[in-house]
Every structure is written in structure tokens, then in C-alpha cells.
């Protein structure tokens, strides 16, 4: 009842990447990749901690992670890392007012200057870099 009274979209609205263009999709992907990378960081810290338990323990851990499934996860992590970094730099610069356009007299059809081609290009470049890095990473991991 409380949720209906406030009429907030809730998590469903926040995690919906559609309806508002590529910038909203980039926001959604930035959040998703951030959470994914945090989960990987915790796993990676745990995984590398087995080195202090000796060679056998380390090799046992490698047996778990150096599998096709492990490699697929690593390829996804590579993609998330590159996208999060590249898009993060775009967002950081945007937060400082760089690349968001200049104020002026709005003219019909009132296209927002902040949603300009530079921002869209950076988002697509981030996605492309991530895809390229994933392919390169997959080549190394599965090619070995």
C-alpha cells in the first residue's frame, strides 16, 4: 500500500535500460558492470589468497578456475572492466561539465545539448572497446 501511495517506479524502473536512449542504457550497464567487478574483486582476492597455503592448494584453485567456465567468466570480466573504465571516464568528465554542451537559447524541437553526438560516440566506443577486449581475451584464454 505504501509503495502504491508514493507511486515510485522502484527497482523495476531503475534497472529498466530501455525507453530513454543509449545514455540510460550506458547508466544501466555501468551499474551492472560495477557490481560484477566488485563480485569479481572479492572472488579474486580469495582466489589469490590460496598462494599462502602452498603449491598444492594453489594448483587446486587453478583446477577450479582454469576451466572453460572459468575462462568464460574471465572474458565477461574483461568486457565489464573495459566498459566500466571507458564509460566511467566519460561520466567523470561529464560530471565536471566537459562535453555536455553550452547553455543557449532553446530552439524547437528542443534537442538537449547534453545528449550530443560526443556522448553517444563515447558510449559506442566504450562498448566497442569492451567487445574487442573480450575477443582478444578469449583468443588468449582459449588459444592457450
Amino acid at each position: 500500500m505504501a509503495e502504491r501511495l508514493t507511486n515510485r517506479e522502484g527497482v523495476k524502473g531503475m534497472i529498466n535500460p530501455t525507453r530513454y536512449g543509449i545514455e540510460r542504457f550506458a547508466y544501466w550497464l555501468q551499474r551492472l558492470s560495477g557490481l560484477g567487478l566488485l563480485a569479481y574483486l572479492i572472488g579474486h582476492i580469495y582466489e589469490t589468497s590460496t598462494i599462502v597455503n602452498g603449491k598444492i592448494a594453489w594448483n587446486q584453485m587453478l583446477g577450479l578456475t582454469q576451466t572453460p567456465q572459468g575462462h568464460i567468466i574471465l572474458v565477461i570480466v574483461i568486457g565489464m572492466c573495459i566498459f566500466h573504465t571507458a564509460n566511467g571516464i566519460r561520466v567523470m568528465l561529464g560530471h565536471g561539465g566537459v562535453g555536455v554542451g553550452k547553455p543557449g537559447q532553446p530552439e524547437y524541437p528542443y534537442r538537449a545539448a547534453s545528449l550530443n553526438y560526443k556522448q553517444r560516440l563515447c558510449i559506442w566506443v566504450s562498448i566497442a572497446l569492451a567487445a574487442f577486449a573480450m575477443m582478444y581475451g578469449a583468443g588468449i584464454l582459449f588459444g592457450d
Binding site: R4, L5, H95, G104, S114
Partner: protein, 255 residues
Amino acid sequence: MAVVSQKASDTITASSTSSNSVILRISRSNLSNDHSTTLAEFKVPIQKWTTVLEAILYVKQNLDHSIAIRYSCRQASCGSCGMKINGKPALACYTKISELNSNIITVEPMNNFPIIRDLVVDFKQLFSTHKKMKPYVVRNDSELVPGTKEFLQTPREAEEYLQFSYCIKCGLCNSACPTMATDSSFIGPQGLAQAYRYVADSRDEGKKDRLKIVDQSHGIWRCHFAGSCSHVCPKGVDPAMAIQLLRGYLLGFRK
């Protein structure tokens, strides 16, 4: 969860003389009666230039007088008729049925605003947040003192904040914002854009106060430049630009 009333008796048909018509689904809710939200369906005749507002008023006039809707100027000046049209916040008077490219038009109250009834939502939080931004020129002196009877401003200086002054407080930006979807304490794109409107005004001396107001955990830092606010703004205010320019002051990119 909205329920579409599919019964034949609920689907009220309009005049049979029109050659073009659409199905208009209007969200109905009356919280004082504790009814659940339903979608009432109406067949409405349209022409090439019919707006969503005209379609709703046609229904109100001819088919169901009880529909609650807020509207006034019919020309995207007052900001009263903001609602969710086919899933996206828009002004009903500014949205032509023909540009929606659909035979079924669903109108619902704007998200992130409490519902009063049907399509009418409560703007209390938007107005109170707007007031917290000190939406007036803050100055220690008065324009009567310098003897010019006004604070002089060049056209270039006026352009720095002009587009942000075009805000009609329609609330569409707050409805589209992904942070507003979950964060009830967030200032919102409308408030932050208006804070910048006055900070950018060369006549204003309240920059420090306003920066302090927005520099809080549910303030400017909960904006992540998703840009949805600027995507839906009907007046070209571009709140996303205003927020990033305002943040530039806090990050040291601007002095």
C-alpha cells in the same frame, strides 16, 4: 498492478461516423475508496492533429465524466498535464496521437509522484524541494541603491541561465529519473536544474549557499548523468546539462 477491464460493457464506443479511431486506456484509481488501479478502455475518434489531451477530454466530455485530469493551457506552457503516455512521461497537450505510432494509447499517472486520483498526482514534494533551492536572486544590496533601477546584465550573461529559466515545473524529468525511482530523498533533476539557474545568474550572490544545499548524500551526487530527464523535457531546459555544470563547481572544474 494495473488491470485492463476487457468486458464488452466496459469498452465504450464513440461515434461511428469517424473514419479513424484509437483505443485509449486510462488508468483509474481512487485511493480514498481503496480501489486497485484499473485501466478503463475507450474508443476515441481522432484526426491527424489530435493530441492525447484532446482524446482524454473527449472521453471526459462524452463517455465518462468522472475521469480526473489536470490540464490548463493546452500549449505546453503551464506544465499541468504531465502523465505517462505509452510508458514514457510526456505532456498530454504536446503529444499528438499520430506521433505515437500505435492504435492503443495507454495513459497513466506520472511515476514517482503520489497519486491523488486517476491521472492527477501530488506535486507537494516537487514544490517543497524547489523552494529549498532558494529559487530567487540572492543579493545583499537592492537594485534601487546603484541608481540604475535594475541589475544590469548583458545578453551573453543572460544566455548562461536562460534555457534553465524555461522550466515549467511539469515534473516529467523527476518521473523519468532512475534515481527518483527508488530514492525518496533525492532532490531530483528539476530542483538541481533550478539551483543551477540561479547560480549561473550573474545577478545572484547565493552560489555558496546553494552549493552547500546540493552537496549532500541525497543531493547532486546521486545524479549519474543517465540523461533521461533531458530526454523527456518538453521545453528544452536540459536539466542534465545544468546538473553537470553545477557539479563542475563542486569538483573544481569551474570557479
